[in-house]
Symmetry: C2
């Protein structure tokens, strides 16, 4: 059975994120899935996502790790509650902190794979470790501290 | 006398960065300047640079802090050598690590100001601290470890 991406379960109102919102037509629209106890996301950088010529822009790498990790945090929180991602209430996470170590230049022209694991779930906080690979080599490692979005978080009324 | 942005001194071949390259027509084209011992960059997010509606995408914030900090590292390295940024050899920095703490949601619809200071210069490494402000409030803090790009760093020949 084909999996539905984590991001495709997000409510419409929370689907405009530049990194992962399926309704943001200018955005990256990344898709994340379970692969056993890991999660995986594959993304093909566009030709203009360059740093120095021939290599991928570090800010894109940070964005991929960030959004894949907050998606992973949400998926893991549903798993921990023993319920599927299309059940209510929706669980959605924000990034409290993001750390990236760039281990080697990431080559352009090949899909990037981000793999993540949950390091810790504690209350409303989920810590996610991620690694980004190109051509089978790890190019960056990241850690994201994600926190569950407050139920009453104000979304300005002109955006609803 | 009007200052020239740090990024406008980069050689053409190194000016295609998605975050700060003046020749990347799809990119952010940020501009960074000295302001005393600090550096400053002002950027107006585009309407699609959203996270949850009404707030700025964290990956954009990471990108702004990253590129402004590597630009700051370059400018500081020239200053430390006592020579202007248009003299040879060019000094250009890559990000070794990036850390961002998101302190509060960053509102859309207002220019963002990134201010940075050099924490340490040691050999080829420069550590930069940065803070991102919206409407006068600090919304994120970052630290970037930047390393000077090797002179012989291979740029694939189809990109020269």
């Amino acid at each position: 059975m084909e999996q539905i991406a984590f991001q495709d379960y997000y409510p419409d109102q929370l689907s405009y994120c530049y990194g992962c919102g399926r309704l943001n037509e200018h955005g990256l629209q990344i898709k994340s899935y379970w692969d056993g106890d890991e999660t995986v996301c594959v993304f093909q950088p566009r030709p203009y996502h360059t740093a120095i010529p021939g290599y991928v822009y570090g800010g894109l790498i940070a964005s991929l790790i960030d959004c894949h990790s907050t998606g992973t945090a949400a998926a893991a929180a549903y798993r921990a509650e023993g319920r599927p991602m299309d059940t209510l209430p929706p669980l959605r996470f924000l990034t409290a902190s993001l750390h990236i170590d760039y281990l080697r230049p990431t080559p352009m022209g090949t899909p990037l794979e981000v793999r993540a694991t949950v390091k810790e779930i504690k209350g409303r906080k989920v810590v996610v470790s991620a690694a980004l690979y190109a051509l089978g080599e790890v190019c960056a490692r990241g850690e994201v501290v994600a926190v569950q979005m407050p139920e009453n978080m104000a979304i300005p009324s002109d955006h609803i």
